[in-house]
Symmetry: C2
Subunit: 279 residues, 2 copies
């Protein structure tokens, strides 16, 4: 009986994590679905407990076999109450917030980082974090009034990548740019009216091969002028057709993969000093 | 009185265009918001009529000043009934379907085209069309079981670019690939297990400078094997971090901008023969 009421109390506490305020107060968030739960479990110390429907737990039993987290079976309805999706997946992990301070995240200098400034669409923000991971970035900073990365829709859009990177939240954008510059990162502000054309920067292989932090702004308003001014350069993604602009996540994909390409080419040109010379 | 009932009947007919079947039967669709209405009006013969709330019409009066389409003021509630968005914009155009046959669209060979195969997320499909426009593409083919490009969410995600390109719908994917090949387009199928690394293709500037059709598959299942086999090459976007894969629209942005970059570089290397020689 007491075990049941304890489980009910924990379920109620988990359900409150669908609100941003409750997430902040508890320092916890929800990760839904097999992919997110698997990636969360692969980051030590992240998962506190797991709730699943009978069906959800049975289908994904292999995920918890090696794990010592508490797994509770709940009704389909209870599992759905923890979900923010139209088609609940019957599996939700309660996770510890994973964000670090900026000092912690910059202790070892990332080769590629993203600073989101006032980005307010959770799907876009999550997709950009996923793309940053794929491009080899180690850090995503949610600066200014950006959406909460622990929002259910944002977590889902990261497709598990949230658990692969360093995440920093709740920091002023100009401060973030300044700290990145101090640590030797090239800071590139994206803007439809940026002074530098991305293709021209990429032609000069050296520029984008440097450790870089890319800044992306709000979906409707772009980056604030003060933030653009704080960065080393402002960069525009060329628009060749009649499109007014690129979607934020599409522009981020083009920029981040330009850096990935330049960094990869530079790494190929300069073999590691640890590599033995040919005899 | 007869004018009013005529207007009511037209409003009811417009409202039915939120269903795919009605759109197909009528050969019409809805474009919502000032940006979409502006771009629709800029494509001759596209807009049949416009419905707007008093506020929506007043705020965007400059759009219709030069136009002779029928503009009907309707109640806020009626305008909202034509909207598929949470925050209706009070302005909706009834448009003629703009899709062409593949033969019409290939009559002059595009330099860059997209073939979406079984892409079923309207937001992704619309975003990819918008990115295709920005990258300089002239054609997007919605093949196989792809989402209807005239779906309200897809139209919105194109941000007006739907009216800038040739659109082909309702065609078998392998047939579309075959017709593109006949017209001399390089056909590139994207796949996480593609034989060619995108960066390596881009290093060989000649490959991606050719007129190209990029194939993108379903969000969950990718491209069918038969479609990959029908294309000239299968290409993978390199994944550098721990991400499982890229979001479909992000992968499309990286691929299309790689082609745009290669085509732009080739155009710069080979000045137009019409350009006068320096004296």
């Amino acid at each position: 009986m007491s075990v049941l009421s304890d489980s009910n109390a924990r379920l109620a506490a988990a359900r409150r994590l669908t609100s941003r305020r409750a997430r902040r107060e508890a320092g916890r968030f929800l990760a839904e679905g097999a992919q997110a739960v698997r990636e969360a479990l692969s980051r030590p110390g992240t998962v506190i407990e797991i709730f699943g429907s009978a069906d959800g737990l049975r289908r994904h039993a292999e995920l918890f076999r090696q794990s010592d987290v508490i797994v509770s079976e709940v009704s389909d309805k209870a599992a759905a109450s923890l979900s923010e999706t139209v088609t609940p997946q019957g599996l939700v992990a309660v996770c510890r917030s994973i964000d670090a301070t900026l000092d912690q995240a910059l202790a070892s200098v990332p080769t590629l980082a993203v600073i989101l400034v006032d980005a307010n669409d959770p799907g876009n923000a999550g997709t950009i974090l996923r793309t940053a991971d794929a491009a080899g970035a180690q850090l995503v900073i949610f600066a200014g009034d950006s959406v909460d990365p622990y929002n259910g829709k944002a977590v889902r859009a990261t497709a598990g990548s949230l658990f692969h990177l360093d995440v920093v939240t709740g920091i002023d954008a100009v401060t973030a740019v300044g700290r990145c510059r101090e640590r030797g990162l090239l800071t590139l502000a994206t803007s439809g009216r940026g002074a530098d054309d991305l293709d021209v920067l990429l032609d000069d292989g050296q520029v984008l091969a440097q450790p870089t932090a890319w800044l992306f702004g709000n979906e409707a308003h772009g980056l604030p002028a003060a933030v653009i001014a704080a960065a080393h350069r402002s960069v525009r993604v060329p628009v060749h057709g009649s499109a007014e602009s690129l979607n934020l996540a599409a522009a981020a994909a083009v920029c981040l993969y330009s850096s990935a390409r330049a960094q990869r080419a530079a790494a190929t040109r300069e073999p590691s000093p640890r590599q033995p010379k040919p005899a």
